[in-house]
């Protein structure tokens, strides 16, 4: 993948300098996910960032034998940054390929190696992730606290509200504009 291809497909990382981008492209591992396969399993630790080059990934929750689809990520988007930054805890959602996908993967180990060798690169990456994660947190907290005073009136709408909160936490609402 060329620098121009990368910048065109992932404009959020446009601030990365040419020399640092070459380093990043060298560190990213291209992986393929076949339609129907799991990229991230629910309840298992994920320590990889996935940039989606081609295809679509679906995020779903499994509860009580029922699978609820929260949303999808497509080309130019990414997920897994929390696991790459803080790999100690497992996520609750399952991420699976709804079609054959080409992914660019950066592991926690490789990210920490980049932190030692190329801080100007990881500084740009971290700034993008910090701003994105902070906005997700802010929107989620706003959603939770705005409805706290309406607990008694939510009734049957509660499950829909829970799923809306889940989408906000996972950044699906923001990224898909819903």
């Amino acid at each position: 993948m060329t620098r121009d291809d990368f910048r065109q497909q992932f404009p959020s990382f446009a601030a990365i300098r040419d020399v640092d981008l070459d380093t990043l492209l060298g560190a990213l591992e291209t992986s393929e996910a076949q339609k129907g396969s799991d990229v991230i399993s629910a309840g298992r630790k994920n320590s990889n960032l996935y940039l989606i080059r081609d295809g679509r990934l679906q995020v779903s929750l499994d509860s009580g034998g029922q699978c609820t689809v929260l949303g999808e990520f497509g080309p130019g988007q990414w997920l897994g940054e929390m696991g790459m930054i803080e790999p100690e805890t497992a996520g609750v959602a399952r991420v699976s390929a709804v079609e054959d996908c080409v992914l660019l993967k950066l592991s926690h180990a490789d990210f920490m190696a980049l932190r030692r060798s190329d801080v100007s690169l990881t500084s740009v990456l971290l700034q993008v992730f910090c701003e994105s994660l902070a906005e997700r947190l802010r929107c989620t907290m706003q959603l939770v606290y705005e409805d706290e005073s309406e607990t008694d009136t939510r009734g049957d709408a509660t499950m829909g509200w829970f799923l809306e909160v889940a989408r906000q936490v996972m950044g699906i609402a923001a990224r898909t504009g819903t």
């Binding site: 509860s63 994660l133 902070a134 939770v144």
Partner: protein
């Protein structure tokens, strides 16, 4: 109090080199703050981040109903506040006020920007700390909402929310 020696005792800075600690020490400003003084106010954009050197700082936020305050805890020596909103350019989600007379080391936004450009290894370290905290907070909410979905009860989600993003 020797500031460099103090910074060496703060676990958040344990990965910084001696040279980086000295650069940080030169950029920080130390002030004695009287009890009752508000250092950061909820809703305002952060102008500095602070490290408590001596004394206690209480954190609270306005209750969403508009009635009363939610007490979020007390910060003591070696604890930081205001960093997340500085890095992410967001408004403060809580108020931080001195309970006792306190001594704080602070880094104003202008100095933080200079540090970012001149010593990227130090600012990258701060960005990583913030990214880790945000990831933990979102993961806590992730688990809270899942527990609420499974139980049909809002309590796990509200508990997770109250434990999250205490001080940014």
């Amino acid at each position: 109090m020797d500031l460099t020696r103090f910074l060496q005792t703060v676990s958040t800075f344990s990965d910084l080199t001696q040279n980086e600690l000295e650069v940080l020490e030169r950029a920080l400003r130390v002030d004695d703050i009287p009890a009752g003084h508000v250092l950061l106010e909820e809703g305002q954009k952060s102008r500095s981040f602070y490290i408590v050197m001596k004394g206690e700082v209480e954190i609270f936020r306005k209750h969403k109903t508009g009635q009363g305050l939610d007490d979020l805890g007390v910060l003591k020596s070696g604890e930081l506040f205001g960093l997340q909103s500085l890095v992410c350019n967001q408004r403060q989600n809580s108020t931080c006020r001195a309970i006792t007379p306190v001594t704080v080391a602070s880094l104003p936004k202008t100095a933080f920007s200079i540090l970012y450009n001149a010593h990227v290894s130090i600012s990258e370290h701060f960005q990583y700390i913030v990214a880790q905290q945000l990831s933990r907070d979102l993961r806590r909410l992730d688990i809270g909402v899942m527990d609420s979905i499974r139980s049909g009860d809002v309590a796990p989600l509200y508990k997770a929310a109250r434990e999250t993003g205490t001080v940014n």
